[in-house]
């Protein structure tokens, strides 16, 4: 079937060549190829900023998103920088792990100006402090929810909803609304 060509046939030669070049310049990185057009790179937490400067020169010039995953059992946050290269047409996951208490990461604002928005959002929902970003603070949430950092795994959403909106929060009160069609 011809449609499989978009996933396998072109060969992973381009992705493997990219990983070899990166490992030559930065030997502290582990990389592997997930499938065509997806590569995976693991970086230790203290060298993440110089690695992103290096990878920008390699052609990965668009920072698409910074995703944070909360691994509560291992007591770590995982930060994944999703990068896309417009010339080589390859998507890279750049991962680091940082400890959960007192989480800090350097800000990538001077390399990729769009990282300011992604970091504001990650700070608001998870509580990670990005050093060098002057605009951290309530952005999408109001100050009352912002202090709780709602997307952490130890935030009990149902309990919070009951506390704010009352115990019978999803019951429909027939006497109140005048007319329903």
């Amino acid at each position: 079937m011809e449609r499989k060509r978009c996933k396998e046939v072109v060969g992973m030669a381009l992705e493997e060549k990219i990983i070899e070049e990166i490992i030559q310049k930065a030997p502290y990185v582990e990389g592997n190829v997930r499938r065509a057009k997806r590569i995976d790179l693991k970086v230790p937490a203290d060298r993440i900023k110089e690695f992103l400067e290096l990878i920008k020169k390699e052609g990965f010039n668009m920072l698409i998103q910074i995703s944070i995953v909360d691994w509560i059992k291992e007591k770590e946050f995982e930060a994944i920088y999703q990068m896309w290269s417009v010339d080589k047409k390859v998507h890279a996951f750049v991962r680091t792990r940082i400890p959960r208490d007192d989480a800090k990461l350097p800000s990538m604002r001077d390399i990729f100006p769009v990282a300011e928005t992604y970091e504001r959002e990650a700070h608001e929902f998870f509580g990670i402090i990005f050093e060098g970003n002057p605009r951290l603070g309530p952005f999408i949430l109001e100050p009352r929810e912002y202090e709780k950092h709602p997307f952490r795994k130890d935030f009990n959403m149902l309990g919070y909803v009951k506390a704010v909106y009352g115990e019978d929060f999803d019951r429909y009160d027939e006497n109140k609304t005048n007319y329903v069609i």
Binding site: L141, E142, R144, E145, P150, M157, L158, Y160, V161, V164, Y165, F169, D170, R171, Y172, D173, K176, T177, N178, Y179, V180, I181
Partner: protein
């Protein structure tokens, strides 16, 4: 409100009541505030297929000149503050029409921390339209219901707001905290 009695109409104009009711029901103007999901079914209502301009309805940017407030879809606390300010800026008599099942009891987002579950505790509601998302024909049925209620004289959300102001005010303050209007405005001025 001097003598503990709220006056709604002057005795001298009672003769013209039918004329006022006819004028009010045939020229409802909507506040142009697209508050949520349901805003996507407003353009089909306003344009050629389910035209509501034949009833005299028109969207208008200024709240002071409007009488109908369509709250289309779910409401978050941040939007609710602006809705309350806009609602209090509108002149009497004013009517509120809510779309969707989210303002009735939470809808799909029943366990979300940022969606208001029962809108009727904060703003008096006249007609609610169930559905997710309600079809334009249902919305037309809701508007015709409001027109019928104006004719009968039972569209009294604005009277309920005046009479039970303490109840609504208590619910609003419980959700937002006391003195929320001044605190919210000052948050932005500090930047400048």
């Amino acid at each position: 409100m001097e003598n503990n009695e709220i006056k709604y109409e002057l005795k001298e104009f009672k003769l013209f009541e039918p004329l006022f009711k006819w004028a009010r029901k045939k020229s409802l103007w909507i506040v142009a505030f697209c508050t949520g999901c349901g805003g996507i079914e407003m353009p089909p209502l306003a344009t050629a297929r389910y035209d509501f301009e034949r009833f005299g309805i028109m969207p208008n940017p200024a709240p002071r000149m409007a009488d109908l407030f369509l709250i289309t879809g779910y409401v978050t606390p941040k939007t609710l503050k602006r809705i309350i300010i806009t609602y209090e800026m509108m002149q009497d008599p004013k009517y509120v029409l809510i779309h969707g099942s989210c303002p009735i009891n939470g809808g799909v987002y029943w366990d979300s921390y940022n969606v208001v579950k029962q809108l009727d505790k904060y703003i008096p509601v006249d007609v609610a339209i169930a559905g997710c998302m309600p079809r334009p024909e249902s919305v037309m049925e809701g508007i015709l219901t409001i027109i019928r209620k104006i004719e009968e004289g039972t569209a009294d959300g604005w009277k309920r707001y005046k009479e039970n102001y303490e109840y609504y005010r208590k619910n609003q303050d419980e959700l937002f905290g006391e003195g929320w209007r001044e605190k919210d405005a000052k948050r932005w001025l500090a930047w400048l």
